[in-house]
């Protein structure tokens, strides 16, 4: 019984940590990079120029 209660708490905690990390990372990225850079992908761009698309 106690094991499962503990597991429940662990699961809540781990989920909280993971979500917090993702939100923090998203905020950091949005802060560190210019919005224009983040939004610079274009539809179909890489479809047509495959060979030099390594990056």
């Amino acid at each position: 019984m106690i094991v499962w209660t503990l597991l429940e708490w662990l699961a809540w905690g781990a989920s909280g940590l993971i979500l917090a990390w993702m939100v923090a990372d998203a905020l950091r990225v949005s802060h560190d990079y210019d919005e224009d850079v983040l939004l610079s992908s274009r539809e179909g761009e890489m479809i047509m120029d495959e060979p030099h698309d390594a990056a």
């Binding site: 662990l10 699961a11 809540w12 781990a14 979500l19 993702m22 998203a26 539809e43 479809i47």
Partner: protein
Amino acid sequence: MAQAQAVTETKAQPIGLLRVLGPGHVWALGVGIVLVGEYMGWNFSVGKGGALGSLIACWVIGLLYTCVAMIDSEVTSTVAAAGGQYAQAKHIIGPLMAFNVGLYLVMAYTMLEAADALIVGDLVVALAAGTGVEGVDPKPFVILAISLLALLNYRGVLMTLSVNFVITAIAFLAIVVFFLSVEPWNPGAVLHHADLLAGLPYGWLGVVAAFQFGIWYYLGIEGTCQAAEEVRSPARSLPYGTMSGIITLLIAASLTWYVAAGLLPWEYLGQAITPLYDAAQASGSTGLQVFLFIGTLFAASASANGCINDAARAWFSMGRDRYMPIWFGAVHPRYRTPFRSILFLIPIAVSFAFTGLLDQVVTFSILSGLLGYTFMPINMHLFRKRWPLGSIERGYVHPFHPLPAIVLLVLCTATFFATYLGYGVQLLAMMSFYIVASLWFAFHRYKYVRRGDQFTMPWPRPRGY
């Protein structure tokens, strides 16, 4: 001309999604999402039409999906862009249809993801009950599953789909092993079809009603073309991955039905949350039970994983075109993923998973998928009309042109009717959602969208425009 477009803005190296996937990943993305449909959800069709009705639905809907795959392969191999059917609708029918198709994709995958997480929670509760502890709360495990998979997706597509390839293969293997170990060559020993098949409890009307959940055997296979911008050679890999995926699913669906219908009374099967796991329990073998527990867990994880990937990519594509706030069109500079879209959809998936109402969450997903299939024949008709064969280069041309589209439209209509039987109110709720969203888009949102930029394919002007 592609190069000309690519260098329009050279001052900063543009960041896009990475082109790293092969046909194996496409198979894993398609089958990975759908295979969970053999572990749960399909069996509600047994509840609606009896075990035999479910089998008939499985075949009829298999025909529906064959049409979907034929049509989709032709259009996708030509319009290869992230967002799949969304990009197709944008180029072939127009913005409002594209917005709706984008929403269908997001809702179908997000609800499927919620259903997957719900299953994970339910399995953990079943495991706890197996150790003699009742009353364990599934919620923390639901949210843990979603956040772990969201994290995987957040950090990169190659890793995500490589993981999917392995767990999907194991889940598929579990179904085959289960089938072989219940001695299908020896009827009456473990399987009892003769005593358990109860005819058609609702008659032929029930068979039609079963079409609704018959969709669930295959729903999501069309997701393969979501990854178009990340596949190395889309024109070849996408049709190949999709077709091999459908074949895999037809096999898995038949095996699953055969085993489950031979082990579980239909009244139970029709309402079970984890039918294959329960079937393993009813077979009386602990080893099988453990194996199917793992299979169900893996199938659900692989599916949720692929769903996060697809839903986020559709949402991202809409953001990039300003169908949604442009903020969602951002790509993570390090991981190259649509990170904001991934985050935004998490709460929706979590809340629906928390309800525990599997059949209804599944129905939302089915209805969104079904609306998407209804769009396809219209799309195909206009595609051939506006760009007749020979006017543009197609990666693949499907045979018997108007026939698959007509069959698909008829089967979609039948499936709407099937949903009306028993889930009529929910059908109307879903329609109201799309109607309000459409009005919002047409009269508010569309003013932020650039007009000519929506058309990115290097095609000639469509006929008649």
